[in-house]
């Protein structure tokens, strides 16, 4: 399986970017092999509205089943939910920390968005 983690950089050692729609990068990681791909999210960072919606579409296209991030707004959440992607918010530390927490089952899936939309 694959999981998506919002990241400030392109490496597993990078810090988690707390934002989803406007995250600098989104890393698509295989938690077993730790193989990963860094998606440049800069096009969405500069979108004036709906950045979370297009970031969610991108994550879905990459086949991720879970998203680990800091905050996820309501429209992004709806889009992820429609794509069948589970969301874990309030994640911090490095991407590797987040992947480990996920592997150890130390994460709680969100049942709703946790940040008011801003546009």
């Amino acid at each position: 399986m694959k999981i998506a983690v919002t990241s400030a950089g392109t490496q597993l050692e990078s810090e988690v970017d707390p934002r989803f729609g406007r995250a600098r990068y989104i890393l698509i990681v295989d938690p077993e092999t730790l193989a990963f791909e860094a998606l440049d999210n800069s096009a969405n960072v500069s979108a004036f509205q709906g950045s979370g919606i297009s970031a969610a579409t991108m994550v879905s296209d990459k086949g991720a089943e879970v998203l680990l991030t800091g905050y996820c707004g309501p429209k992004a959440y709806l889009t992820l939910d429609a794509a069948g992607i589970k969301v874990v918010s309030d994640i911090s530390g490095t991407v590797m920390d987040a992947v480990n927490a996920f592997k150890n089952g130390k994460v709680t899936y969100a049942t709703e968005a946790n940040k008011d939309s801003h546009w």
Binding site: A47, Q49, G50, S51, I53, S54, A56, T57, S60, K75, L78, T79, A82, A83, G84, W119
Partner: protein, 288 residues
């Protein structure tokens, strides 16, 4: 003649000026309350409302039976109002700007038009003065389309007085664009001056002649007068701080009706506006 009454911030007396000018001029005018997030001109004009109608903006509705999830619609929407994930198509009505692009590009004709309510428009009158206001639906974020609808209802045979929303953003521009004159209402306080500067900046972009009304003109630090002088902004009226005026306002009454001597002053204000709006020297006042 279209006069837009604006102010950099709320609470400067913009609505007082707009309603009193309308009442002073009487039959030949109409008052358009374009402060659609908080319309309050009706509280002072007290018009009889004869008709209220809903205003909608078209948004897409997807027929999932016909949709092939080709993504042409989400690709063309620059507002991210449509998302295609897997086989599902999501529409975010509040992000849609009603451009119609998605409906045009859908190869399956799977998109039909439905509506999102923007708000309501009410029509009424008082002593021959025509009155129209717009009221944005609670939760609706886009006011410019509603403001444009209110303005589209204007009668070109009348003098149109627009009560514009406060501030300097898109809704204000929608209420000032195409006006013949912009009347800015301000107070001689540091806050008032700060917001006035921003508002004057916005008016200059539009290149419309403008002038000032200074309300509660004898309070504050008076710097607004020096500013107006340096910017070549004509001061067309000053309204002193007067306990009687404050009382009239708090009772929701019109100054021109309670203090008849003010009627002539508001008629005079209109005459000055008319002169400035029609002369070229007036046109240069706000276009540097």
């Amino acid at each position: 003649m279209i006069i837009s009454v604006a102010s950099g911030k709320g609470g400067t007396g913009k609505t007082t000026v707009a309603t009193n000018m309308a009442l002073a001029l009487g039959e030949k005018v109409e008052l358009l309350d374009c402060d659609v997030e908080e319309p309050n001109a009706h509280l002072f004009l007290k018009p009889q409302i004869t008709r209220t109608e809903k205003v909608e903006t078209p948004i897409p509705l997807i027929d999932l039976e016909k949709c092939t999830a080709c993504r042409k619609c989400s690709d063309i929407c620059r507002f991210n109002a449509i998302a295609v994930v897997g086989k599902k198509v999501l529409v975010f009505p509040e992000l849609c700007h009603s451009c119609g692009g998605c409906m045009v590009v859908c190869p399956e004709k799977a998109i039909v038009e439905t509506g999102r309510e923007l708000g309501t428009i009410s029509y009424g009158h008082r002593n021959g003065i025509r009155f129209i206001n717009g009221r944005l639906r609670v939760g609706e974020a886009m006011s410019p389309p509603l403001i444009r609808k209110v303005r589209a209802a204007a009668d070109p045979e009348r003098v149109t007085i627009i009560d514009a929303p406060p501030g300097t953003s898109c809704p204000v521009i929608a209420a000032m664009n195409g006006a013949d004159f912009i009347l800015m209402v301000t107070e001689p306080t540091p806050f008032g001056l700060h917001d006035l500067r921003l508002a004057v900046g916005a008016v200059r972009v539009l290149g419309i002649p403008c002038g000032l009304v200074v309300n509660r003109s004898d309070i504050g630090d008076q710097k607004v007068f020096a500013y107006a002088e340096s910017e070549g902004l004509p001061i067309l009226m000053t309204i002193p701080f007067d306990r009687r005026i404050a009382e009239i306002y708090s009772r929701g009454k019109a100054i021109v009706e309670e203090m008849p001597e003010w009627k002539e002053r508001f008629v005079d204000l209109y005459r000055k506006i008319e002169a400035l709006a029609t002369s070229r020297s007036g046109a240069s006042q706000c276009v540097k």
